[in-house]
């Protein structure tokens, strides 16, 4: 008969011990086979904290081989899971959050004073004792960049098919369809006609969904801002490029609808506290294009107003929009060649880029500012659903 020995619980020092032969199981249960939904309701970035506590124990026992092995297996495991789920926004953002958190932990508990300024005394006790993991921090930073790029690619892939119809074709302002240029009226503005048309609401719903996932998974707010700045840039570039190539949308009414759509997007950013992200600034060329469509285009004063307003559009882009501009009806005149020449003369001193279209694939460089956590390792609870009972709390 088994005798249960009551032993006095020792204080948990925030370290996790495991046998070397269990490393593969640890990586399988915590990385490659883990489903983010399993961790709903737990502390965000739990896998990163668990991995740090395992690294800390290997450091505490001065076992450099174990530290090397665990970090290498972790990084390879994350890469494997990303490859397998390369079109899954939730999985990709989950591992971006966790990789960044592990990177922050390796800084926060590195023992470097520069990273310890916000640590409590208890957190300082949880610093690494033997090893300097600076080189592994570089690897995790490089990996974070790769994951970020995958995340943007997935989000862009979802949004891209919606942009043209939502930003340029869909008419949400009542009565505007009556003032569309003659001959270019849309065949049907119904959403139920089976074509790939989207309204702006669809883009906003999708961005709400992205934002909720990123916040729930505890991604750093600075990174979330960079994600939306990048997505707004893409919306700007795809919309403007289409405008620059399509006569039917270069009209006063599209300008009005476009300005309204952009204001809805700006409002969404404010509502989600993302207005400091620089996202609106990336929309500036499109904002100016919408205004250009609405401005008068006749007199010398009109030309001056256009030139002083359209500072984020190149001369080539301004001229192209003026050339494509389609009058609403027989009462509105086309833009005259003389007016376009006046604009060109006024702008000739500008040193504008030569290409007409924006690079919709352009990516802003991403930064991962250090973001220490106020959590202490000894307060972290490992849920049974992770099947990590082979980890011993030390």
């Amino acid at each position: 008969r088994q005798v249960t020995v009551q032993r006095k619980e020792k204080d948990f020092q925030g370290m996790l011990e495991y046998h070397k032969e269990d490393e593969a199981l640890l990586i399988r249960n915590l990385v490659t086979e883990l489903k983010p939904q399993m961790l709903s309701g737990t502390v965000p970035c739990l896998p990163a904290y668990i991995l740090y506590m395992c690294i800390r124990h290997a450091d505490y026992t001065n076992d450099d081989v174990k530290v090397h092995s665990l970090l290498t297996s972790t990084i390879n495991g994350i890469k494997k899971v990303l490859k397998k789920h390369n079109d899954d926004f939730e999985m990709t953002s989950f591992w971006l959050s966790n990789t960044c958190r592990l990177l922050h932990c390796l800084k926060q508990y590195s023992g470097d004073e520069g990273f310890m300024t916000q640590n409590t005394a208890k957190q300082n006790e949880h610093c690494l004792k033997n090893f300097d993991l600076t080189e592994y921090r570089q690897v995790l930073s490089d990996l974070s960049i790769q994951i970020y790029q995958q995340l943007i690619k997935i989000a862009e892939g979802v949004l891209q098919p919606m942009i043209v119809s939502a930003m340029l074709e869909n008419e949400s302002i009542q009565g505007l369809s009556g003032v569309k240029p003659t001959g270019y009226r849309k065949r049907s503005s119904s959403m139920a006609d089976g074509d790939n048309s989207y309204c702006l609401e669809a883009i906003i719903r999708q961005m709400n969904s992205f934002h909720t996932v990123l916040c729930d998974q505890g991604l750093d707010p600075e990174i979330i801002m960079q994600v939306f700045k990048q997505l707004f840039y893409m919306i700007n570039a795809v919309t403007l490029n289409n405008l620059l190539l399509r006569k039917d949308v270069c009209s006063w009414s599209t300008g009005m609808q476009l300005r309204y759509n952009i204001s809805q997007l700006e409002e969404w950013l404010r509502g989600r506290n993302l207005h400091q992200s620089g996202a609106v600034q990336t929309m500036e060329p499109l904002i100016q294009a919408a205004q250009l469509l609405q401005l008068k285009k006749k007199t010398q004063e009109d030309a001056e107003a256009i030139c002083s307003l359209c500072t984020s559009l190149s001369t080539q882009q301004i001229v192209k929009i003026l050339n494509l501009y389609t009058p609403l009806n027989e009462f509105e005149e086309r833009v005259t060649v003389a007016f376009i020449r006046t604009i060109q003369a006024q702008l000739q001193e500008r040193n504008d880029p030569q290409q007409l279209l924006l690079d919709s694939k352009h990516m802003f460089p991403v930064l991962f500012p250090f973001n220490p956590s106020s959590l202490t390792m000894d307060s972290i609870h490992i849920p049974a659903c992770l099947n990590l009972e082979f980890l011993n709390e030390v």
Partner: protein, 31 residues
């Protein structure tokens, strides 16, 4: 007397690309 922190040993790490290469060759070796 002030406590001096213990000197830490720098653990050399391969780059991400080198890790990938090692991982690929390991996978190729295994049957």
């Amino acid at each position: 007397s002030s406590q001096r922190p213990r000197p830490r040993v720098l653990l050399k790490a391969p780059t991400l690309a080198e890790m990938e290469e090692m991982n690929t060759s390991e996978e190729e070796e295994s049957p």
